[in-house]
């Protein structure tokens, strides 16, 4: 509880800092109008007033904060839609994408991480290590494009982007086909890092004395590995996984862009290009809150996994 309260000034500081950074970036929300020779200084002044940009910065911030806390997140400058509507439209797509990634990564990372540690230096371990390092060091945009070219353009097995075939009625198979490539792109990269984490900490715990004790007691190897070693080895993984949680909301900037996935990442990127302050601040506020909460969650999970860790 006390830690929750401690998080509040932190969140406030983050929101002030992000507001300041947004305002300091050159261009501004009216830059997009400038290419038009008909756009005059009068038009600029009128729009600045309509969007409230002519007020002093502290007032702009406080009025945003006030309405934000009362649930009015404002309207996007470019789309004239409520920020909550804009987020609401993208969130399901991002949850679907990142949720699938989250589940798949966990499903594969734990068994692969554990088995490679147990069979250290085997051919299997070397193969997995090679693969994880390859994917870890592959930029997402490149991997994504590679998959598109291979499975979309060359083999024509899967669609090149989007969430569904436009104009067609809702179809689960169609949805899944659109999901495969973006999910594979993010999962392969994330899997690499998660497997590395788990393998490293498994190796460390397997060498510990209590594991030797467990073995000496005559426990089955399965029980030793899963109950005694894994529970302790999972602690570092918990941090990594807990920090994945905000991503469920924030989405994947690069991958969503490459695959034309209408999610939070693209919303954020588009808004950033247009300096659409209300949208950017809404997303930043939610994502920073989630990151702070995820850290708290990781701490709580530590306490469960390792009763020696107590916070005072």
């Amino acid at each position: 509880m006390r830690r929750l309260l401690q998080a509040l000034p932190l969140l406030f500081a983050i929101s002030v800092a992000s507001f300041a950074i947004l305002k300091a970036t050159p261009g501004g929300p009216l830059a997009a109008y400038e290419g038009n020779p008909s756009f005059t200084e009068d038009d600029r002044a009128r729009l600045e007033h309509a969007f409230g940009l002519d007020r002093p910065l502290p007032i702009q911030y406080l009025s945003w904060l006030g309405s934000f806390l009362t649930g009015d997140w404002g309207y996007g400058f470019a789309s004239h839609q409520p920020v909550l509507t804009l987020i609401g439209e993208r969130l399901p797509n991002t949850l679907l994408l990142m949720g699938s990634v989250f589940v798949i990564v966990l499903l594969f990372a734990i068994p692969i991480g554990v088995t490679t540690a147990v069979k250290q230096y085997s051919v299997y371990d070397h193969a997995v290590t090679g693969a994880t390092f390859t994917f870890l060091s592959t930029p997402t945009f490149w991997l994504g494009l590679l998959l598109i070219i291979l499975f979309g353009l060359q083999l024509r097995w899967l669609p090149l982007g989007g969430v569904s075939t436009p104009g067609a009625p809702f179809d689960v198979v169609d949805r899944l086909r659109h999901l495969i490539l973006p999910v594979a792109t993010i999962s392969l990269v994330q899997l690499g890092s998660h497997v590395r984490y788990l393998r490293a900490s498994m190796l460390e715990t397997i060498g510990q004395e209590y594991v030797r004790t467990a073995r000496a007691k005559g426990l089955a190897e399965r029980v030793v590995v899963l109950r005694h070693a894994l529970k302790n080895a999972a602690i570092p993984l918990v941090t990594v996984v807990a920090l994945d949680v905000p991503e469920l909301f924030v989405g994947a900037l690069v991958t969503e862009q490459i695959f034309g996935w209408p999610g939070m990442g693209r919303l954020f990127l588009d808004a950033a290009f247009r300096s659409d302050y209300p949208v950017l601040q809404g997303i930043l506020a939610v994502s920073s809150t989630l990151i702070v909460l995820a850290n708290l969650l990781a701490d709580v999970a530590y306490g469960y996994l390792d009763p020696r860790i107590r916070y005072s």
Binding site: P26, G27, A32, E34, H80, P166
Partner: protein, 563 residues
């Protein structure tokens, strides 16, 4: 499908189709290639997604691409740059009595008559009250993009349901296109704030299609408008879906894979891919966009004094030499795949087009010009004169591959004639911000050479006045002008003022030609090339016609899909 086959058969039998729209053809084979079939869904890839479709808020090109099938105005432009009526019976002119200057020659009255029987796509009749309402909204709504033309209107009279008399407080020559997008009074008049209504995403129009679905960043679906004035003959298609693609590369890949039927705005570098794919066709239409390099004739410093002289570019011989050492044609051939034309003026299309070319590439002449003007080559091959080194900066938008390649070519070419050029690019959000507070170097005068593109509207006054009148040089006191080269010529000023005070097209054309000649004689701009609009489609999508002044969806009512 069945309807399409039926109409094919009917056409083949030499009978007019029930709607009377399709032209009768003598044989089935000819019918298949020449006579439109009905039905089907065309999918068009768009790699920008409209944030809004309300014409008075929008500032994206892609909004027009979608809206051309939905929203109409009183008149539009054909490919020759002539005004043609859309919802009006005729385009009012001085000759046909529709446009009248007041006795003192200072004001203008324009009478529009609507075609009878036109309905909005929801079935309500279109009346002259909608014309007046459109003007009112544009003036009243604080979030409207700009008020060009509308702010020149004093009042609108409505003698009857089909007639509106628009009273301009000035001689506003581009009046034919002022009402390019009519708004439905019956739907919107009760709304306090249109920006908070569904109209922002699903505007109501009188066009061949109506918007039935708007899925942000995914797709926009247009369905046949059964209340369209040419229904049931047109449109031929049942639906058009605008599908969001992440980039034009992916759009092209989807076109090649058959996932979409058409895409808009290809780069020149993408054209070889289309040309070598069977079943795809390119449409290269000359566009009004002109890529240019502007030469700053005043000192390169913040809020430069319009009367100061640039130490290097202030010398007209230096400016001439830079032009002579610019290989426009080979840049076009090699970097633009031959899909552009060498530029010659800011107005390359339409009735006021000025096509007198600038002098061609001749590095020998460039060197001779500089030698004669007293610019002497130093030991490093760079010229100087009176202690001033011929060293310039060259700016354009960062991250634009084509522009960066053009820069590399020109830096080498200019070095060869003894002029040192350093590239100093900035993001387009700064360099084209168009505002002094946004640190636009053109506005502040903090550049030597600056390369960018600009697209004039069909009436050249809005381009020529702010860009080439000497009173339009931006200063700290008044930053609104766009005379970025700091070009000053009293004869050109006079010609611009003359052109702005008459509706006589021939007089205006001659006046603008005078301005553009003076501009080229001063060598303050190198007109690089007139950029083409390049669109691509599958060959099965037919009925397209090119229009220089409008985007490729301007005639969607005539599109049809070959089965």
């Amino acid at each position: 499908m069945a309807i399409a086959v039926l109409s094919l058969v009917l056409a083949a039998c030499g009978q007019p189709a029930p709607g009377g729209g399709t032209s009768a053809a003598p044989s089935a084979t000819v019918a298949a290639t020449a006579s439109p079939t009905r039905g089907g869904t065309a999918i068009v890839a768009i790699w920008q997604f409209p944030s809004t479709l309300a014409a008075h808020y929008a500032n994206q090109t892609v909004t027009d691409i979608v809206n051309y099938g939905v929203i109409e105005g009183l008149a539009e432009t054909n490919t020759n740059g002539e005004y043609i009526p859309t919802l009006a019976t005729k385009v009012p002119t001085v000759a046909n009595g529709g446009a009248k200057m007041t006795a003192d020659g200072k004001k203008l009255d324009v009478t529009w008559e609507l075609k009878p029987g036109i309905k909005w796509s929801d079935g309500d009749p279109l009346t002259s009250a909608d014309i007046k309402y459109t003007w009112e909204i544009w003036m009243k709504d604080p979030k409207v993009n700009n008020r060009t033309g509308f702010s020149e209107i004093e009042s609108v009279d409505l003698p009857n349901d089909l007639t509106a008399v628009v009273h301009y407080k000035s001689i506003y020559a581009p009046y034919p296109l002022n009402f390019f997008s009519l708004m439905p009074k019956h739907l919107l008049e009760k709304e306090a704030d249109i920006s908070k209504t569904d109209y922002v995403r699903r505007p109501l129009g009188t066009g061949p299609f109506k918007i039935t679905e708007f899925k942000t960043d995914e797709s926009i679906t247009l369905e046949k408008n059964t209340n369209y004035r040419d229904a049931p003959d047109k449109p031929y298609l049942d639906k058009i879906i605008f599908k969001s693609v992440p980039s034009s590369q992916v759009g092209l890949a989807q076109l090649q894979a058959g996932e979409v039927h058409a895409m808009w705005n290809l780069t020149e570098a993408q054209t070889p891919d289309v040309e070598k794919t069977a079943g795809l066709a390119l449409q290269v239409v000359p566009g009004p966009t002109v890529e240019r390099i502007e030469l700053n004739t005043a000192e390169n410093k913040e809020y430069t004094d319009p009367n100061s002289v640039h130490p290097v570019l202030g010398d007209i011989e230096m400016r001439k030499a830079l032009l002579y050492a610019t290989p426009k044609q080979s840049i076009i051939d090699k970097l633009l795949f031959g899909k552009a034309k060498p530029g010659s003026s800011p107005v390359s299309q339409g009735w006021a087009a000025y096509k007198e070319p600038q002098e061609g590439y001749d590095p020998v002449k460039a060197n001779a010009t500089l030698d004669k003007a007293g610019w002497v080559k130093g030991s490093d091959g760079i010229r100087s004169k009176g202690g001033v080194r011929a060293s310039l900066t060259y700016a354009t938008t960062t991250g634009d591959q084509l522009r960066e390649r053009v820069q590399q070519v020109l830096v080498d070419e200019w070095k060869a004639i003894g002029v040192e050029v350093k590239i100093q690019n900035q993001p387009s959000s700064v360099i084209l911000s168009g505002s002094c507070t946004g640190k636009d170097p053109r506005k502040l005068g903090t550049f030597d050479l600056l390369m960018y593109a600009s697209t004039p509207s069909i009436d050249p006054h809005s381009t020529i006045l702010p860009r080439y009148h000497s009173k339009q040089i931006p200063t700290q006191a008044d930053c609104s002008g766009q005379n970025y080269t700091r070009f000053k010529n009293p004869d050109a000023d006079k010609a611009i003022e003359e052109a702005g005070s008459t509706l006589d097209i021939e007089k205006r054309k001659a006046a603008y030609a005078k301005v553009m000649k003076a501009l080229n004689d001063a060598y303050v701009v190198i007109w690089m090339y007139d950029r083409a609009n390049i669109d691509a489609r599958v060959t099965g999508l037919q009925g397209w016609e090119a229009n220089v002044w409008r985007r490729f969806t301007w005639d969607v009512q005539d599109w049809w899909l070959k089965k």
